[in-house]
């Protein structure tokens, strides 16, 4: 039923829901063929990622040689962990959400987004040092767990509650993500098992595709389980952001009482996740050899998401800021001074421009949303902005003296009479060489893990592509050509 909609040569990127071949067999052959041999660009990516990762490990070792008791120097590490959580681990939502909403445009990019779940494994490693960096609840800080040594009941709360629950939640998120990836890859792994070139990939594909033969029971199960796992991943993502942002961020800042911020942390992650996927799409298009598959339709779809989420960024930020700014309680003033308008003001302004102002004024134009370069530039901006946002929050937070010390007041940052921060916080904390090495290493590690998994699992979802060919019909409607889209469920 599906038909080829290209007549004549196209010069620009293609529009519309487009599949470059007219039979399912051709699509399978093309995509399996493209995936059979690693390209030079893949090798260069892996090499670059590996070098950066080694650099990062050296940086980490240098950092570790100073121990974990001085939390000020670990701010940049915490920030990188949060950055990966905010970007890579949120990226799969670009596959999950449109799949639940039955948006056909997602099909060529859903795998590219889901592959980011594998990077969750890497972030799980990054999470381990965080357990040492975060002090137990005995320092008298406010927390989600309401530990209070004076109270007969609340003194029974385990003092490592944040560590325990955040670990469990992270594990659940990462496991759900990898399971989702495995599940959605199963039919494609079966294709590699049946059609791929011999070698380790085929052996792994055989093992991982289990007994997938594509019975209708298997397909039903697949759709059903993917729906459940996708919803579960989303809920865990929100929950992990909630726990991490409260326990590893808000609770450490005296006087920061901001019920909205945990949700803001998650909303920012959705925005950065979309930006991550856009950059992945560009890489797959330009260097991965999938130009024919990833078309303007996909860029248009994700651009709309990025635009909406950028507006949401402002709304969440302003909702918090307005209330704290109006409240002007001493604690609130201290928090605003530390995180927003104090030493990190230039960083905050950059974040504001990159995550909100620039996307608003650029992405409001439909021709830009419906292009490749527009969303790409904006995504780079959003990712840099998110990086800086995590920097301003985590680095500023971990540079507060007295974290973990029960003798320091945990209820407010005391400003002096002219409204200035305490001396120790008056200057922004700049990165040192190991911090820069670690930041590069984390980014390199993410790229490396992604590329390795993309070697095993095709970065274009083959079966969803085939499914699209069933539900998409081009036909003549009286004097015009229309696209008929089926809505199976």
């Amino acid at each position: 039923m599906a038909s080829h909609n290209g007549n004549g040569r196209h010069h620009g990127p293609r529009e519309g829901l487009y599949v470059p071949f007219s039979t399912q067999g051709d699509v399978v052959r093309d995509l399996i063929g493209k995936h059979d041999k690693p390209s030079d660009k893949w090798w260069s990516g892996v090499a670059a990622g590996a070098i950066l990762l080694v650099l990062g490990i050296i940086g980490f070792a240098l950092r570790l040689s100073d121990g974990v008791s001085d939390r000020i120097v670990w701010g940049y590490f915490a920030m990188m962990f949060a950055f990966v959580l905010t970007t890579a681990q949120a990226a799969p939502m670009v596959a999950i959400a449109p799949r639940i909403a039955n948006g056909h445009w997602r099909r060529p990019i859903s795998r590219a987004a889901e592959l980011w779940t594998a990077v969750g494994l890497f972030n799980m490693l990054l999470f381990i040092p965080m357990l040492w960096i975060l002090p137990p609840l005995t320092d008298g800080r406010r927390s989600l767990w309401f530990f209070d040594p004076e109270d007969p009941w609340l003194s029974r709360v385990p003092i490592y509650s944040p560590h325990i629950w955040a670990t469990l939640a992270m594990l659940a998120l990462v496991v759900a993500g990898v399971l989702l990836l495995w599940l959605s890859a199963m039919p494609d792994l079966a294709l590699i098992r049946d059609n791929g070139a011999d070698g380790w990939r085929k052996r792994w594909a055989t093992r991982l595709s289990k007994n997938w033969v594509g019975t209708s029971a298997q397909w039903n199960m697949l759709h059903h389980r993917m729906g459940i796992l996708g919803a579960f991943y989303f809920m865990m993502l929100i929950f992990v952001h909630f726990l991490i942002s409260v326990d590893f961020l808000i609770a450490l800042v005296p006087g920061w009482i901001d019920a909205l911020y945990p949700i803001t942390h998650a909303a920012n992650a959705l925005q950065a996740g979309v930006a991550t996927v856009i950059l992945t799409m560009v890489v797959l298009r330009q260097w991965g050899g999938y130009k024919e598959y990833i078309t303007l339709e996909q860029f248009w779809g994700v651009s709309k998401l990025l635009f909406a989420l950028s507006l949401l960024w402002f709304w969440f930020w302003f909702s918090s800021f307005n209330v704290l700014w109006y409240g002007k309680k001493p604690g609130e003033q201290g928090v605003l001074e530390l995180l927003t308008v104090g030493p990190y003001l230039p960083v905050f302004i950059s974040v504001f421009v990159l995550c909100f102002a620039a996307p608003l004024f650029v992405m409001m134009w439909n021709p830009i949303r419906k292009s490749v370069w527009g969303p790409t530039i904006m995504s780079v901006g959003v990712l840099v902005g998110t990086f800086l946002d995590r920097l301003r929050l985590y680095v500023a937070t971990y540079s507060i003296p007295g974290i973990g010390d029960p003798h320091v007041d945990k209820h407010s940052i005391h400003l002096d009479e002219s409204g200035r921060l305490p001396l120790a916080l008056r200057e922004a904390h700049f990165p040192e060489i190991p911090d820069i090495m670690m930041a590069l290493g984390v980014i390199g590690g993410c790229v490396l893990v992604y590329l390795l998994f993309a070697r095993l699992i095709p970065p274009i979802n083959i079966w969803e592509q085939k499914e699209l060919m069933l539900y998409k019909v081009h036909k003549t409607y009286h004097r015009t050509q229309v696209l008929v889209l089926g809505k199976p469920r």
Binding site: E15, L144, I257, I263, S319, N322, V482, V484, L485, G486
Partner: protein, 459 residues
């Protein structure tokens, strides 16, 4: 699979204009009853204006009572219109088609009802004069730094925007009524209202763009309106439990919860009163039921986070306030009813397909939600004020007086009457949207299975 019914345009006109061109038997009775309730409410209001706001149950420290609760409630309901029509238009959800207009019209009337609550509340309504900037002759201006100035600016923007939205989408249907109306004046009035619509491709094209463009423009306004209403409470530090950053999104999601529920109620009423079961199928109720599960769960998450952070500080005043809300008479049972009706009864029920597909059960559950959401606002406002400590010299409790109850009842009757009168003069289900849905509906045959499909214009 294909449970929608394909009809000719003539049949669609006949069905959907029945209530406009004819007069349903129950209509006069229903409107008379509502007018009576409104008259009683207005009489109560006249009494209040004459005697002063003291006739309401308000007193120190609870100076905001049923009127403000009702104001927030109706602002919340008003969010459904745009929520349903804008978001579903932008996501091209097919099931929106018969629902959009009723939702938008409800927006307009509930906004007016909300604004009227402010009139009732201030006691001296002529003082509203000071809200707007007029000219230099009186020498003083309103204080832009007060949320009570943001509020009218946002609500008026929303009211004007959504009224224009309704009007633009009404133009093609007005042309249909113009062509069908009989009598001396009706055809003339409709032909003026529809601005000489003919149905050229250009007009249809712009109508399609208008839906999307106006949705995109009204959507951000909708978000701002309830945020600003929440800041009426949240930016002040005087009342524990109000000063929370989460208030804006929490109010929005609560508004969507009650608003979408109200749309489901209206859908059921349209099915029963105007016998529109050919147009509002169990499928439509199913779709809105699914949407409600998501909305209600999100709302509950925000509710949970709001509570967690209220307790997070472990400060005695905040804990005391929450104790008052949950354990003390009469709030404990109101709180229990609120939790049960807004979440724990309806959401588990919506998980069942049979419930979602039944107009009766959807009607009942969504009525419950709206009872719960009215109480939610009540429980935010009244216990909060009752516990207000700084600068409070005497304490009284709060009971709505009979005057307040009559006036609150008046707002409900007002919105219902508005909808009924609108439905008498204009079609409540958009004719052209339904017809378009029928033209664009298609199927794809894959083997033995026929998959419902729709035509997309971009080839």
């Amino acid at each position: 699979m294909q449970e929608h019914i394909q009809l000719t345009q003539k049949e669609v006109n006949r069905d959907l204009l029945e209530g406009v061109l004819g007069l349903p038997k129950w209509w006069l009775g229903a409107t008379s009853f509502l007018v009576l309730v409104i008259l009683i409410g207005l009489a109560a209001y006249a009494y209040e204006v004459n005697k002063g706001i003291g006739v309401a149950g308000l007193g120190r420290p609870v100076l905001w009572g049923a009127y403000i609760t009702n104001f927030v409630f109706w602002i919340g309901i008003s969010h459904a219109g745009i929520m349903i029509s804008a978001i579903l238009r932008l996501t091209q959800a097919e099931w929106r088609r018969p629902v959009t207009r009723a939702a938008e019209v409800m927006t307009i009337f509930s906004l007016i009802a909300a604004l009227s609550n402010i009139m009732f509340h201030v006691g001296r309504p002529w003082r509203l004069f000071w809200v707007y900037p007029y000219d230099f002759s009186r020498g003083i201006f309103m204080n832009v730094r007060s949320p009570f100035v943001w509020d009218p600016s946002a609500v008026m923007t929303y009211l004007i925007g959504s009224s224009l939205f309704v009007f633009v989408a009404l133009i093609p249907d007005l042309a249909v009524v113009r062509d069908r109306a009989t009598g001396k004046y009706a055809p003339r009035i409709y032909s003026i209202l529809c601005l000489g619509w003919r149905g050229t491709p250009r007009q249809w094209r712009l109508q399609a763009i208008a839906g999307i463009l106006l949705s995109a423009l009204v959507l951000p306004v909708f978000v701002s309106v309830h945020s600003i209403v929440s800041w009426d409470f949240a930016i002040a530090i005087g009342v524990e439990g109000w000063h929370s950053t989460i208030f804006a999104p929490y109010f929005i999601i609560g508004a969507i919860h009650s608003g979408v529920s109200a749309v489901a109620m209206i859908m059921a009423l349209v099915v029963w009163l105007w016998k529109m079961d050919n147009y509002l199928r169990p499928d439509h109720f199913d779709a809105i039921g699914r949407l409600l599960i998501i909305v209600a769960t999100t709302w509950f998450f925000f509710f949970f986070v709001e509570w967690i952070f209220a307790l997070y500080t472990l400060e005695p005043p905040e804990i005391k306030l929450r104790e008052l809300q949950v354990f003390e008479n009469p709030y404990w049972w109101l709180f229990l009813i609120f939790l049960l009706t807004s979440f724990f009864i309806p959401v588990p029920m919506w998980l069942f397909k049979n419930v979602r597909r039944s107009p009766m059960l959807m009607f009942l559950t969504t009525v419950l939600v709206n009872i719960g959401m009215w109480l939610e606002r009540f429980l935010i406002i009244i216990p909060g004020l009752a516990r207000r400590t700084p600068l409070t010299f005497d304490w009284g409790s709060y009971h709505p007086s009979i005057i307040e109850i009559l006036i609150v009842a008046e707002t409900f009757a007002f919105v219902a009457l508005g909808m009924l009168i609108f439905a008498k003069f204009f079609p409540l289900i958009p004719l052209f949207d339904v017809k378009e849905g029928m033209v664009f509906r298609d199927t794809i045959k894959i083997g033995r299975r026929i998959v419902p499909a729709s035509i997309r214009e971009t080839p």
